[in-house]
């Protein structure tokens, strides 16, 4: 599977280096320092905070670069939090609207990703409070995962495992799913996850652990149990 160069370019030098090593055939022998230097030599990618500060000064192109780095992961985070595509798109636009409005007061006090997902988390909470009556039904319908062929091969089995993972993810309690998604989509550390969600580090760690265990258990379940999870 060829790497998504466009997305990698916006993700920064580290992500680029991780793939660059594989592409040029050196694989794991390429040390992290060399790969980062290689990527930095090739592309002087500014940090998220630098881009935001440039946008504060009126550089719209800097904002576009910043947006492209985070839009998909943020979208997936909100999609799985809200469990509804329309709601996710509304919240997504709210989040970026707040980021745009905050540009005049932006200061490099915290990592931009932490700031972004903190805003996203709060917007999601506001959305939940506003739409309490409409919560609940997940977009993912277990029945849509039609029963596989009678003789599942390895690819089919993998596909089923991912489907089970998806269903189990939707079935997680909100707090655990939130922590899991912040870990996977935003790449936040436990400390930053705690900061975003407003809990202490140990609570965040426990929620993540529980989420992982449940998802792992769901992935390992036999194929027949698909459709019974909801």
């Amino acid at each position: 599977m060829s790497p998504d160069w466009q997305e990698l370019q916006f993700k920064g030098p580290e992500a680029l280096a991780a793939v660059a090593g594989q592409v040029i055939g050196m694989g794991p022998t390429l040390s992290p320092r060399v790969s980062v230097t290689y990527s930095r030599t090739m592309t002087e990618t500014p940090t998220d905070s630098a881009l935001m500060l440039r946008y504060k000064d009126g550089d719209v192109a800097a904002f576009e670069t910043l947006y492209r780095r985070h839009n998909n992961s943020l979208y997936r985070y909100l999609l799985r939090c809200c469990r509804d595509r329309d709601a996710a798109e509304d919240v997504f636009q709210d989040v970026w609207g707040k980021i745009i409005k905050s540009r005049t007061n932006y200061r490099r006090t915290a990592k931009f990703t932490t700031f972004l997902y903190r805003v996203a988390h709060n917007c999601f909470i506001d959305h939940v409070r506003r739409n309490k009556r409409h919560l609940g039904k997940a977009d993912t319908d277990p029945d849509q995962y039609a029963s596989p062929s009678d003789e599942p091969d390895l690819a089919a089995e993998k596909r089923l495992a991912r489907q089970r993972l998806d269903i189990a993810l939707m079935a997680l309690p909100n707090e655990q799913r939130d922590v899991f998604l912040l870990h996977e989509e935003a790449g936040l550390t436990l400390d930053n996850i705690a900061l975003v969600t407003g809990v202490n580090r140990e609570t965040a760690k426990s929620r993540l652990r529980y989420a992982m265990n449940k998802l792992k258990a769901a992935m390992s379940e036999p194929a027949q149990s698909l459709g019974n999870q909801s």
Binding site: Y55, G58, V60, F63, E64, Y67, N71, N72, Y75, R76, L79, E89, F92, Q93, W96, G97, I100, K101, R103, A161, R162, L165, D166, L169, P173, N174, E175, Q176, H183, E184, E185, L190, E202, T203, K205, S206, R207, L208, R209, Y210, M212, N213, L215, K216, M219
Partner: protein, 214 residues
């Protein structure tokens, strides 16, 4: 939903197998129309509309120019008056001060005259202020007009319109001056003669509406 009771479970927080499967599964991307909506909003925020955009664009340069102008003004204000005297008085010779001995002598003369003028003016102002302060702070004794006869500060005379059919209590103090009259009113009030004090106060206010104590 409270899951704090499940905090006792041992083990690490993350699981690479689950992470890898999730990363392989999660491939959704933002719709193109959503991207363009956000980017348009970002651009609009920077460009602004009309005056707001103009203000945002020109605020820093204008602030910089204003700071420079202010610094220049302060610098000019604090420079020596010798270099500016020739522009002040049309009768002074229009010669720019230089190292020439003759022009230096004339410049010194002009400078000293100017300094004397400033000093005389300052002295007059100080005298006026002192007189005013003395009047405000002075608690006159009846029969001691003191500074009210100063040429720099005159009080209006007791107007003829201050007549009434009500009996007056401060008739003597009226003629002495406002401070005496004020003291009389205060004495009446302290003595419990509030009605009389009120009558006198009414006339006092009409006579001296700008009295400091009011």
């Amino acid at each position: 939903m409270n899951h704090d009771g499940e905090n006792e479970l041992p083990g690490t927080g993350s699981d690479p197998t689950v992470s890898a499967e999730y990363q392989a599964m999660a491939n959704e991307r933002t719709p193109a129309d959503l991207d363009s909506a956000v980017l348009k909003e970002a651009e609009a925020a920077v460009r602004g509309s009309g005056l707001q955009g103009f203000t945002a664009l020109w605020f820093r340069p204008l602030a910089f120019v204003a700071s420079l102008a202010l610094a220049l003004a302060l610098l000019l204000e604090n420079t020596s008056t010798d270099t500016l005297l020739w522009t002040l008085d049309p009768e002074t010779p229009t010669v720019v001060p230089s190292d020439n001995a003759n022009t230096t002598t004339e410049a010194e003369k002009i400078s000293s005259e100017f300094s004397e003028m400033i000093e005389a003016s300052s002295k007059r102002m100080r005298e006026q202020e002192a007189a005013r302060d003395a009047i405000i702070l002075n608690l006159n004794e009846p029969g001691a007009p003191q500074n009210f006869s100063s040429e720099n500060f005159t009080l209006p005379p007791v107007p003829n319109r201050v007549t009434t059919n009500s009996p007056r209590s401060c008739t003597e103090e009226l003629t002495v001056g406002p401070w005496a009259w004020w003291q009389c009113i205060s004495d009446l009030d302290d003595a419990g003669r509030h009605d009389e004090a009120s009558v006198e106060m009414e006339f006092f206010i009409k006579a001296y509406p700008d009295f400091p104590e009011l």
